[in-house]
Amino acid sequence: MSEQLKVKTMEQFMAEGKQPEILFWVGSAGSYDDRAKKISRAFVKLLNKANVDFAVLGPEESSTGDVAKRAGNEFLFQMQAMMNIELLNGYEIKRIVTCDPHSFNTLKNEYPGLGGKYDVIHHTQYLKELLDSGRLVVEGSEYKGKRITFHDPCYLGRANNVYEAPREVLKKTNADLVEMKRHKQTALCCGAGGAQMFKEPEKGDMDINILRTKDALETKPNIIATGCPYCNTMMTDGIKAHEKEDTVTVLDVAELLANSL
């Protein structure tokens, strides 16, 4: 399926003596997780289409340490952060975009106190920018008449008050945007945050993602849109648990836009 993506590393930019417009922070999920890799690819497809001169760090990138911090391991977090900051400052990075709200949050809010000050944005914000400036134009109508509901990632929404950018990008796809009962500030977590992604849940009577997909299914959607690789996994698993995987798909905002061009 793969059309060739144009991706250059910072190292290559340096060798050419150039600076990219923006650094794409791929994140660990976007680099290794099979589902999330597709999101990285869709986003890069969009960047290529808009002729964005972007760089990635490639093998030089390392975990932001976010998940270690949420788990309580401040040591490991700060080790990771300082290593990354040294690298980013060495490359004189000014602007960073990422598809992972957790990386977005920690790079934007927690790195500055450790000496890493960058303009950090989430990929839905960047896509909105590219659409607004006309660098990306939607021509297709792949999703016309389809019902899409957007699940707010905690670390994008409540944590950083970004609610509109993903919705505005979604509107551009010509789909019908339907809201879940609890959305924006009151959106329910998908259950992955705070390092829960990496452990079994505590004893209870239900998994959180089952409850959240129930919220989503109540809107009778064709598609559940997400803006976070972890939410994506959680919602996808939830849909399977509700045995709805044949009628409802879970897609990232970047994928939806890439399919609409």
């Binding site: 680099s31 290794y32 309580g72």
Partner: protein
């Protein structure tokens, strides 16, 4: 002999206010057991937050029914307290309705107090029904058993009694005014108590005076009692909501603090020119700093202020994804436990001449279990929901830090995840050199 009531009143006032001051001192001392934290930034946002959230009740009305009723009780409480000023002056100087000279404005004031008092009664009754008859879920969680449940109802009863005393006092006063009794100036408007007044139609003047005085005394003594009840109750929020919203979070909710003590050590480890022995010789005096929190003294003072401010409303818990799916975690319980433990530590200090004597207990395990702490998704729903800017999440994270950094007591899967990050820079066991493979897949 003539001055006896004035003297008794002055004494009651001194005792009531004195106890209150003592409680406030204890409260401040306990809050100061917490660690220092810099809250000097962004004063204008802080002021705005306080005005909007505490004074303006902006977060209360997110839930319209409870919010609306609460605004009534809140406004009623504040406004009716103007009346208390008059009562105090009258009590001290033996005057009666000293503000009566204001004429029409006085009528307006008393009239509006009465209407508010009536609305407060209605609101309080609905609140009581919500807690005891409709049995709204968030008031029935396990942490609400015992004192918290009683406390919630007691407050409603006290408010009800105070409002009835106020209206009865006015009703009898109205009767006395109409009889032209000495001392009872004709003043005030009585839109509500005029309906209570007929109950006393057949009562003689001297008995009316006794009724009026009794209601008057019970009303003011009740208020002094209520003032001192605050310290033991969730009702403390009527005072602490103001400082708490001022000192509450101004940074994005997603931003967790970076531990300075860790920064120092990490810098040292990463700096190739650092002399490894220098570090040991300049080891700070006393014990090395403890990472994270296992007891209330390890939390910062804003977190302790948070605990005293908690209204036990349970809005946090009802929004918590872990709680909604049957996990033990309840952010309200985190706050209540913190307050209970802080009270216990405070009592310990009082009993031991101002010195805390270790009691073999702590906040972790004895109050808050690991199971609760590990169930949190750090989603910030609790922080968002709290009407008085409390941050239960920050306490959870501080305690996780203790578990992980001081005790290495993370769940196994998390330890695996963390050693993956240490070894290959990702939470999964993949080779860092493969980070760009996704481009060509």
């Amino acid at each position: 002999m003539h001055y006896l009531p004035n003297i008794i009143f002055a004494l009651a006032l001194v005792v009531g206010v004195g106890f209150f001051v003592r409680n406030i001192k204890k409260l401040t001392r306990n809050i100061k057991l917490g660690k220092a934290v810099d809250v000097s930034n962004d004063k204008s946002t802080r002021l705005k937050n306080m005005t909007r959230i505490a004074l303006g009740q902006s977060k209360m009305v997110v839930r319209p029914v409870a919010g609306f009723l609460h605004v009534i009780v809140y406004v009623g409480f504040i406004i009716i307290n103007i009346e208390v000023l008059e009562i105090i002056i009258d009590g001290l100087f033996g005057t009666h309705r000293i503000f009566a000279f204001m004429g029409g404005f006085y009528d307006f004031l008393i009239g509006s107090f009465e209407i508010l008092a009536f609305l407060v009664i209605v609101a309080v009754v609905i609140f009581w029904l919500r807690r005891n008859v409709i049995r709204i879920q968030r008031f029935l969680k396990p942490e609400m058993k015992g004192w918290p449940k009683k406390d919630g109802n007691l407050i409603l009863y006290i408010e009800l009694v105070l409002m009835f005393l106020f209206l009865t006092m006015n009703a009898v006063d109205l009767q006395l005014q109409e009889l032209g009794a000495a001392h009872y100036v004709k003043a005030g408007a009585y839109p509500i108590s005029q309906f209570i007044a007929p109950l006393f139609d057949s009562v003689g003047e001297s008995t009316l005076v006794i009724f009026e005085r009794t209601a008057w005394w019970l009303h003011i003594l009740g208020i002094l009692f209520f003032l001192n009840y605050l310290y033991y109750s969730k009702h403390l929020h009527i005072l602490l909501a103001f400082p708490n919203t001022y000192y509450g979070r101004v940074n994005p909710q997603g931003e967790f603090s970076n531990l300075d003590a860790v920064t120092k050590e990490v810098k040292l480890m990463m700096d190739p020119s650092a002399d490894p022995f220098a570090a040991t010789t300049e080891e700070p005096e006393g014990e090395p700093e403890k990472f994270g929190a296992s007891d209330v003294m390890d939390l910062n003072w804003v977190q302790l202020l948070n605990a005293y401010t908690c209204t036990e409303c349970g809005r946090c818990t009802s929004e918590c994804p872990a709680n909604q799916t049957g996990k033990k975690l309840s952010p309200r319980k985190i706050m209540m436990d913190t307050r209970d433990r802080l009270e216990e530590v405070g009592a310990n200090i009082d009993a031991n001449n101002g010195e805390f004597v270790p009691d073999g207990k702590q906040l972790l395990d004895d109050y808050i279990t690991k199971e609760e702490l590990w169930a949190c998704t750090t989603c910030n729903a609790c922080v968002q929901a709290c009407p008085v800017s409390i941050d239960p999440l920050s306490i959870i994270v501080e305690m996780r830090r203790y578990l992980v950094m001081e005790q290495s007591a993370a769940p196994m899967e998390l330890n695996n995840m963390m050693s993956n990050i240490e070894n290959n820079g990702a939470p999964w066991p993949y080779n860092q050199m493969d980070r760009l493979n996704w481009v060509n897949e």
